[in-house]
């Protein structure tokens, strides 16, 4: 791979051939605003918010999809660029109802977590829509148990389309047309079950306005949650996930850019990986079975552990260690499993230790 040199805002950078202006700028910590662009998902250049000036070009170019060429001289801010970006945002918000984009603490759309449109509008001082068009409200698609689509919040940036088609490669979320207007055909309507949609929710994670939304997650503001990067507890792919906690409770999960999953998740990882944690039917105390009634009764740790160790010691004494078997959990951590087999071998005195690898 050969390298090329370019200059962005006076900084000279050397990047691999094929790098976009945006990627080059990001490497140099130069911020170019983006809206429809989402790395590894969509770079169709539809919003025109990321336009930059390139020396020798009469008109600005979108940084997200313009490949840097050797000797390019790029400027990321100018009066013209600010005007163009402002107008682009103005045009986008003119199609939306105000609560979809206006920053208002009490706004009902506040659960549109991390609303990037809001942030940009604030940055560019968009307070009113100049091109207000009166369109009747459109019905929501919300039959899918996990996902809903509200066209009234949609800016048709197609990040969701990229997530479904270029990343998840599921090809069920497409664009449609209403005459000259592009629409998002989200497969979450009444016939959701007959579509090929895998409900993976990668589209919702890609949405910058909350038009496509995961239903199960609880409402929260970005500032209210803590994020814990961890590994998904389902299959062996090892997707990296960000657990979101608010006031000590799990409220959401997002796909993180892990080496195995690259930000993607499946329906289980996204919607099944945290609800069970604090489920009402979790066993929260040791339980000992009453031999008479056959019912489990709440016990203290000491009682329970005493029972376990005394019974096991007895059996070991009577029949030897190999009359005990220990099955470890292939869902648990390496550290737990290590201690588990160490326990079996050192104190149960048996090699009858295994895990559920076979089933």
């Amino acid at each position: 791979m050969s390298n090329i040199k370019l200059t962005i805002d006076g900084k000279t950078l050397e990047v691999v051939k094929g790098t976009t202006i945006l990627a080059a700028a990001q490497m140099a910590d130069i911020k170019i605003p983006t809206l429809c662009f989402l790395k590894d998902r969509s770079a169709i250049g539809s919003c025109r918010v990321c336009v930059v000036e390139v020396e020798g070009m009469e008109y600005p170019l979108p940084a997200c999809k313009t490949v840097a060429r050797d000797g390019m001289v790029v400027t990321t801010s100018s009066e013209r660029l600010t005007t163009y970006r402002r107008i682009a945002l103005d045009l986008i918000v003119s199609n939306l109802s105000e609560e979809a984009w206006k920053v208002d603490e009490a706004s009902s759309a506040a659960d549109t977590n991390n609303n990037q449109l809001q942030t940009l509008c604030q940055e560019y001082g968009i307070e009113t829509a100049s091109f207000k068009t009166a369109a009747p409200p459109k019905p929501k698609y919300d039959s899918n148990p996990f996902l809903s689509f509200d066209p009234n919040l949609c800016i048709r940036c197609q990040r969701c389309v990229g997530a479904c088609n270029s990343a998840a490669r599921n090809h069920t979320l497409r664009t449609g047309k209403k005459g000259t207007r592009t629409t998002i055909s989200a497969p979450f309507g009444k016939n959701w079950k007959s579509t090929e949609c895998e409900s993976c929710g990668n589209c919702a994670q890609a949405c910058p306005t909350g038009a496509i939304k995961a239903k199960v997650k609880l409402n929260y503001q970005p500032g209210e949650v803590q994020t814990t990067r961890t590994t998904c507890p389902f299959c062996g792919v090892g997707c990296q996930i960000d657990l979101k906690t608010k006031d000590g409770k799990l409220v959401d999960v997002e796909g993180a850019n892990g080496p195995a999953n690259k930000g993607l998740l499946c329906v289980k990882g996204r919607y099944g990986s945290y609800n069970f944690v604090d489920s009402n039917d979790r066993i929260r105390t040791p339980l000992i079975k009453n031999k008479q009634t056959g019912e489990f009764e709440v016990a203290s740790w000491d009682e329970a552990l005493t029972l376990v160790t005394s019974r096991l010691s007895d059996i070991k004494k009577q029949h030897g260690g190999d009359s005990i078997a220990a099955f470890a959990c292939s869902r648990s951590t390496n550290e737990d499993v290590y201690l588990f087999q160490k326990m079996a071998r050192t104190v149960f005195e048996t090699n009858n230790v295994d895990n559920c690898a076979r089933v």
Binding site: P145, A167, A168, N170, K193, C200, R229, T230, T231, P233, F234, C235, G236, V237, G238, Q240, T245, C266, V267, K268, Y271, G272, Y274, F276, V277, D278, S279, D281, I283, P286, I288, K289, W301, A304, V308, T309, S323, I324, A325, A326, F327, S332, T333, N334, E335, V337, Y338, L339, M343, R345, T346, V347, F348, N351, V353, D354, C356, A357, R358, V359
Partner: protein, 532 residues
């Protein structure tokens, strides 16, 4: 996996997918395989049932369940006969090709095709297409291992990769997709009767001595038995006590009756779990466990990548970290196990396990790794990890070709039980539903038992799509709902094993592979009757 997910999905010119339905069982790998296919990576799908990826496949081998070894040996036969093997690689890096050649000499395409019930031309075409690809990866899953001849199935696939020089190559390899988040890690950590952590053999006196010295205690040299072998041993009274950490064999093991009978025979049964599972109901004592979100540690994924698990929440109640439970038991039973943090436990693991030698929580959390984890073998703290195994030769010197011989499944259909049942997973559910069953939306997508049956068989039995049926084997009988399609061939059926309202494991057979002791979930004989 000998190779990595990225490697297989981005570098391979061809993927041969055997007994694996990644779109449902490993969805995020499924997505990446779809991307691979769309970029032009060739795909051979070997599966008795039409899976989603079948439609994308260059070649589709819809073989009879239980005939993987015959298929793979048939491929090997063609590779040898057509001179498609990598002679230099074989000479430099392997041994035993002549013995293998002898074994597969009889595995002609015609014979193989007859055993597998496929077109012999497709077998030959698949062998040639695989051999023609500069980088060809084999990806397999439980469709290969969950047979009474599962180990042979795996070895016969490895033979193919090795004979064509695809082992120890980017974009190649033999790549099992592991079913559970840390099944790789659990095996790595010595949760197996024959191995200490890092597959150091219990049978090796030097290894035993090493662990005795490290742990400061005498250890048993007696050969242990595998979990699936334990159930008959319980029934026979050889095993009297079971300490079980988070499993639900009543639902997930084959032949539920024999599992329940075994558990009932125990003198003492202790369980650590999050929920009152079907299995936990038989316990004498249940200790509350903690979920992944409540603990620190690591998981090792299917590509041998050790990644961090971090604590996000505490839940209400009187629970203890699982590690503390084990430490407490060890101490109470007379072994002085100091209280260690998970990071310290990893330190001990690293000190005793060469392949984890360079793994530490500090390193996994470092900026250097940027959340990418470490793929073992990672022998020391400066080692970057190993994305592709066997790049510079095999661990044991020369790669040994196995000599697997096809043997039919343990239970074949007959007049009384004329259909073959295979079991598997669906996208929206996971194993015994301990986690997924608690999410109503997932149950709404797929929440109850069904059986896929070929339309010809359905017509013969007078069964319509969506009708209730009874499904019986020699071991039990359940109710389910028929899904009539062409997804399975006539004579073959398929059921997911997740659903308690018609759990296929009442039917499955506890026939075990002679080496790995994996049960034959993929083949048992059943009959299906319409319920009136």
């Amino acid at each position: 996996m000998t190779n990595s997910i990225d490697d297989v999905t981005q570098e391979s010119d061809l993927i041969m997918l055997v007994g694996s339905n990644p779109e449902e069982a490993h969805p995020v790998i499924g997505m990446q395989i779809r991307a691979a296919v769309e970029r032009g990576c060739k795909l051979i799908v070997v599966d008795p049932r039409d899976i989603g990826l079948t439609a994308y496949a260059d070649i589709r081998i819809k073989l009879k369940p239980g005939t993987n070894v015959a298929y793979a040996n048939g491929i090997m036969h063609v590779l040898i006969k057509e001179g498609l093997i990598d002679k230099d690689y074989i000479a430099d890096r392997t041994q035993g090709i002549d013995e293998l050649a002898k074994i597969v000499e009889d595995c002609t395409p015609a014979r193989t095709a007859a055993i597998c019930d496929i077109d012999e031309r497709d077998l030959i075409a698949a062998a040639k297409l695989y051999a023609a690809a500069p980088r060809a990866a084999i990806v397999y899953c439980l469709g290969v291992t969950e047979h009474s001849t599962g180990t042979d199935g795996v070895m016969s696939l490895s033979n193919i990769a090795m004979a064509t020089g695809n082992l120890g190559k980017r974009g190649g390899g033999v790549n099992p997709l592991r079913g559970q988040n840390n099944v790789q890690g659990a095996c790595d950590m010595g949760a197996g009767p024959d191995d200490f952590p890092g597959y150091q053999k219990v049978a090796n006196p030097k290894v035993l001595a090493k662990f005795e010295q490290a742990w400061g205690t005498k250890l048993s040299a007696v050969k242990g038995i595998k979990a699936t072998e334990c159930f008959p041993a319980m029934t026979e009274g050889k095993i009297k006590a079971l300490f079980m950490f988070g499993e639900d064999p009543v639902r997930t093991d084959p032949d539920t009756h024999h599992v329940i009978e075994a558990l009932k025979s125990l003198e003492f049964f202790a369980v650590v779990d999050l929920f009152m599972t079907e299995t936990a109901k038989y316990a004498d004592v249940i200790l509350p466990g903690r979920s992944f979100a409540e603990k620190e540690g690591t998981f090792s994924n299917t590509e041998r990548r050790v990644q961090r698990v971090r604590k996000a929440v505490d839940i209400e109640g009187d629970t203890l970290p699982d590690s503390e439970i084990f430490i407490e038991i060890m101490n109470r039973m007379g072994y002085k196990q100091p209280a260690l943090t998970p990071a310290e436990v990893m330190g001990e693991i690293a000190s005793l396990t060469p392949s984890y030698g360079g793994v530490s929580h500090a390193r996994l959390d470092s900026e250097e790794l940027d959340g990418r984890g470490l793929q073992w073998p990672c022998p020391d703290a400066n080692h970057p990890g190993t994305p592709v195994l066997h790049m510079n030769g095999f661990t044991k010197g020369k790669g040994e070709f196995a000599v697997p011989v096809y043997q039919p499944s343990a239970e074949l259909p007959d007049a009384e039980y004329p259909l073959v049942l295979s079991t598997g997973r669906v996208l929206s559910q996971y194993n015994a539903q301990a986690m997924t069953g608690r999410v109503s939306g997932l149950n709404e997508i797929e929440g109850s038992s069904f059986i896929e049956i070929n339309s010809k068989d359905a017509a013969n039995l007078g069964i319509e799509d969506g009708e209730c049926v009874s499904v019986s084997s020699r071991r039990g009988s359940i109710k389910s709902v028929a899904r009539v399609s062409e997804k399975t061939k006539p004579g073959q059926t398929w059921m997911p094993f997740h659903f308690q309202d018609g759990n296929s494991n009442w039917l499955t057979i506890a026939a075990l592979d002679s080496i790995a002791k994996a049960p034959e979930f993929k083949v048992c004989a059943i009959k299906v009757e319409k319920l009136v």
